[in-house]
């Protein structure tokens, strides 16, 4: 290992990164075979493109970015956000009624945010906490999850996400809002109160 800069070490890629990339892919596409294929494609594309690697990013960051692009291609090919506008309007009443009072828009008593316990335990039981987060992401409606994950995991800018998924900014905000309300509530039920 060179300490002053990062070299590409393709002979160690599988050993060092395959479980990591596979786990990331699995969270994003929620299908084992697809995740396996994506990891394989990532390594092979990376190997073929290793001449274009610049030392300014780490090997890990570089491979992660290649995987991310593969996943965007996959989402596009599968057209995961097909008819998202009608999905949003068809499910609006159902979503609203679950969380907010119909007449005045206030939080309903049951789903209203409660005070959370200290975060300290999250650090202690990191593995358990991560699996709760993944459970909450998995439970999210398939039309909401890809956009939310792009924001949540990769912290991409709203404009970039809208372009990647070919959605309007108003759809973006509705998706992010619903997803955040859902994941907050899921984490509260499964972690912060127990």
């Amino acid at each position: 290992m060179n300490t002053s800069g990062e070299f590409l070490q393709p002979e160690n890629w599988v050993k060092t990164y395959s479980d990591y990339l596979y786990s990331l892919a699995l969270i994003k596409v929620n299908n084992k075979e697809t995740a396996e294929d994506l990891v394989q494609e990532t390594f092979l594309s990376a190997f073929k493109a290793k001449g274009s690697f610049k030392n300014e990013s780490s090997e890990k960051t570089w491979l992660t970015a290649i995987l991310k692009n593969k996943i965007i291609d996959y989402y596009r090919k599968k057209d995961v956000l097909k008819d998202v506008t009608s999905y949003i309007s068809d499910t609006e009443t159902n979503f609203d009624e679950h969380f907010f009072n119909k007449s005045d828009g206030h939080w309903l008593p049951e789903p209203a945010p409660l005070a959370w316990k200290e975060l300290a335990d999250a650090k202690v039981n990191q593995n358990e906490f991560d699996s709760i987060i993944q459970y909450c992401i998995q439970k999210m409606p398939t039309k909401l999850a890809p956009v939310f994950i792009a924001k949540f995991l990769d912290d991409s800018d709203a404009e970039i996400i809208c372009k990647e998924f070919n959605i309007t900014s108003s759809n973006y905000w509705v998706i992010i809002h619903r997803a955040k309300v859902l994941i907050r509530s899921c984490l509260e039920k499964n972690w912060f109160l127990t």
Binding site: S18, Y20, H106, I133, K151, A158
Partner: protein
């Protein structure tokens, strides 16, 4: 009428939580910012939502690193060997 509309939008938690997410990303207009400010003055639930939302964002930012340190899923040995084989073939 004006007062009614103001109240209607300012007292609406659904609307306020959406605005708070726009604010997080720095994509909020001045009028929206004022509405949110007034809403949060009296609404403890939404104040909590704002705080918890930012906790959730921080969790998300740390998640990729934490997945690297402890990958929650393992690629099967067979698939790993296959991929390694293909990389080796390309290296020759």
């Amino acid at each position: 009428m004006k007062v009614y509309l103001f109240k209607k939008t300012v007292f609406d938690c659904k609307h306020a939580t959406l605005l708070s997410l726009k604010k997080e990303e720095g994509k909020i207009s001045i009028i929206e910012r004022i509405k949110l400010f007034y809403h949060l003055l009296y609404c403890g639930y939404c104040k909590r939502f704002v705080k918890q939302s930012s906790i959730i964002n921080n969790i998300g930012k740390g998640l990729t690193d934490s997945i690297f340190i402890h990958p929650p899923h393992t690629l099967s040995t067979k698939v790993k060997e296959d991929i390694q084989q293909q990389i080796d073939n390309l290296s020759q």
